[in-house]
């Protein structure tokens, strides 16, 4: 418990004391000449008078008491009583980039990953999250941010938009309302930059690695990389090069492999090797419950303190002082009105 403006309290109390002293010394001068009466001794024998005098005395004592109390409470309130806490900010030192393959083979998993992640946003404390999607080219849906409202909104919107069976729609076996189609098209906009190619996984991973900013600060950086590694095109990087580049920037790689689609075990092996070569983790599961465990892993990698200085966090506690001041003010008003 400290007082931020203890000198205000001291000044106010001194002022109150000064006002009292001035009125005390001048109490005779301020009074008008009294009316002299005689033969009023009988008043003491009149019960109602004695009662009224006693009541007046009680009211007077109460008035003085409440006034003193109010002045003290007001002064203390002005002094801003606060508690101090020394805090080292240990949050906001983790960056997570969600790196999603939005090729047609992944749509079911993407929906689940996004909605699971959206549910987990509430448990984040200062982590920054970005979402990048790729197919033949990649698009950053939102960059690293800790605006959780935005993150949650975007993730939910994305989960809804990506829930779209593109192959089925093209083949005519699935039908969707126009609104749904427009949402999907809007969401995957910019991920088909190269015609006739799809799922250029190494390039997508490499561009996810570019999302991280603040390269000079010491932060925990992670990519959650969801892909089935079924490349249809000519990547600029090989997967090995991409993971090397990611590792060179001290980015932890968490690869999420939902399961084979058309490609055989070769794709999986390539992904596994590339990931584990860089000390990354590979989760091979179609179970979206794998996501929370990935997040746990990320949160366990406590980022080293960024050399952040311990800050004094001051919390004001005006409640008690305010209530007491307010009550004594009401008391003064009520009693003043009653005594008149």
């Amino acid at each position: 418990m400290v007082m931020t403006f203890w000198w205000v309290t001291a000044l106010l109390l001194l002022a109150a004391l000064a006002v009292w002293a001035i009125t005390f010394w001048n109490r005779r001068a301020m009074r008008k000449a009294p009316v002299l009466v005689a033969n009023s001794q009988y008043l003491d024998r009149i019960p109602s008078f004695v009662r009224a005098q006693r009541a007046a005395k009680v009211v007077r004592v109460l008035q003085v008491g409440i006034a003193v109390f109010g002045v003290i409470a007001g002064s203390v309130l002005s002094g801003r009583i606060a508690t101090e806490r020394i805090e080292t900010p240990d949050f906001a030192s983790r960056d997570i980039v969600l790196c999603l393959d939005v090729s047609g083979s992944m749509y079911e998993y993407d929906t689940e990953i996004l909605s699971t992640f959206a549910e987990m946003v509430d448990s984040f404390e200062g982590e920054r999250v970005a979402l990048t999607i790729f197919n033949s080219t990649s698009r950053t849906v939102f960059p690293l941010t800790n605006d959780y409202d935005l993150i949650k909104r975007e993730l939910e919107a994305g989960a809804e938009a990506i829930d779209f069976d593109e192959f089925g729609y093209r083949l005519g076996t699935r039908n969707y309302p126009d609104e749904k189609v427009r949402k999907y098209v809007d969401f995957v906009e910019g991920t088909r930059g190269i015609p006739d190619e799809a799922s250029v996984v190494p390039d997508g991973l490499a561009s996810c690695g570019q999302v991280f900013d603040q390269a000079e600060t010491d932060r925990s950086r992670s990519i959650i990389f969801a892909t089935d590694n079924e490349v249809n095109g000519e990547p600029i990087f090989t997967l090995q090069e991409a993971t090397d580049a990611v590792a060179a920037r001290e980015i932890d790689l968490y690869t999420f492999y939902p399961g084979a689609y058309e490609c055989g075990p070769g794709c999986f092996e390539e992904l596994k090797t590339a990931t584990e070569d860089q000390d990354g983790e590979l989760y091979e599961s179609s179970d979206p419950e794998a996501i929370p465990s990935i997040i746990n892993e990320i949160q366990k990698t406590q980022a080293q303190s960024m050399g952040a200085e311990p800050t004094v966090v001051r919390t004001d506690h005006p409640g008690v002082g305010f209530v007491l001041t307010f009550l004594s003010l009401i008391g003064i008003l009520v009693l003043g009105w009653r005594a008149r």
Binding site: K32, L36, V37, A38, I46, S48, F49, A56, R60
Partner: protein, 298 residues
């Protein structure tokens, strides 16, 4: 003290009584106070030192020598004033003026009427430790001294009222039968003084002038404190503005007033209660008239 008290009293009396009292004050054939007729004895030649007011102008005109009327010495009336000069009389009267001023005016009125009639006035006042007594004289200087003594004795520092001492004293020091005017306030003379008063009435013709006290609550004037001269204490606004207290106080004062009035009536003492300086002259004239009427009937 540029003007003498007596002059000021005269001015007040003349102002108040310009018409109604003229008959009382003039007309030497009948006394204002008691009985009628003045005991005209003889005419004698004017000697230096005699009162000019006693010159009989008609007789002087007839004879060519200044003649003055000679009164029977024995029949010169003696008046006495018994003034309560306690601290209570320095307080405020019911009409807001000073009770002392009202008392001076009442005493001055007696002096004034006495002067008109050539009566002699004595004074008994003061307290046990500081008694004041003036013999019966009729000169203007004496009357002025009398009024001034009363005025100066009546201060807030004066002793507390002791009516039994005053009445006892009045009885002892005035052996001659007088027309005695007791000037006090609404609390005096107390009901305990019945015996003393009765003893006074056996020797004197007693009149009691009571000056009413100001209301100790002063409900309409809460800005000013109320202080009792003998019991300085604060009376809270709460008590002063309470209707119930006002009612009880009024009831008590009425009862006290009634008690004294009843006692004085039983003693067949002429008495009056007046609210202060503004009314004392009128009330005294009214009292004297009714008294005259009563004597005429008797």
């Amino acid at each position: 003290m540029a003007t003498s008290l007596l002059t000021r009293v005269k001015a007040r009396v003349d102002l108040h009584t310009s018409n109604r009292a003229r008959g009382l004050i003039q007309g030497r054939g009948r006394s204002l106070f008691k009985g009628s007729g003045e005991d005209f004895d003889d005419l004698k030649y004017y000697q230096p030192g005699d009162k000019i007011s006693e010159i009989d102008w008609k007789a002087t005109a007839r004879s060519g020598e200044p003649l003055i009327r000679q009164f029977n010495e024995e029949r010169v009336r003696h008046l006495s004033i018994v003034a309560d000069t306690s601290s209570a009389m320095a307080a405020t009267a019911a009409d807001g003026t000073s009770k002392r001023d009202a008392m001076i005016l009442a005493a001055g009125m007696v002096c004034f009427l006495a002067q008109k009639n050539g009566d002699m006035v004595g004074l008994v006042a003061g307290g046990e430790n500081h008694p004041i007594q003036l013999p019966s004289r009729s000169s203007d200087g004496h009357l002025e001294l009398l009024l001034r003594s009363v005025q100066q004795a009546t201060t807030t520092a004066a002793p507390v009222a002791d009516s039994s001492w005053l009445l006892e004293r009045a009885f002892r020091v005035t052996s001659r039968s007088t027309l005695m005017t007791i000037i006090t306030d609404e609390a005096g003379p107390g009901v305990d003084d019945f015996t003393l008063l009765r003893r006074l009435t056996t020797r004197h013709d007693v009149m009691v002038i009571r000056i009413a006290d100001a209301d100790p609550l002063q409900r309409t004037d809460l800005d000013h404190d109320v202080v009792d001269v003998n019991r300085p204490r604060e009376i809270a606004s709460l008590a002063r503005s309470s209707k119930r207290v006002a009612h009880d106080v009024e009831a008590y004062r009425m009862a006290r007033r009634e008690g004294i009035t009843e006692m004085l009536d039983r003693l067949h003492v002429t008495h009056m209660i007046t609210s202060g300086e503004s009314t004392v002259v009128e009330d005294m004239i009214a009292m004297l008239r009714s008294r005259e009427y009563r004597h005429a009937r008797a």
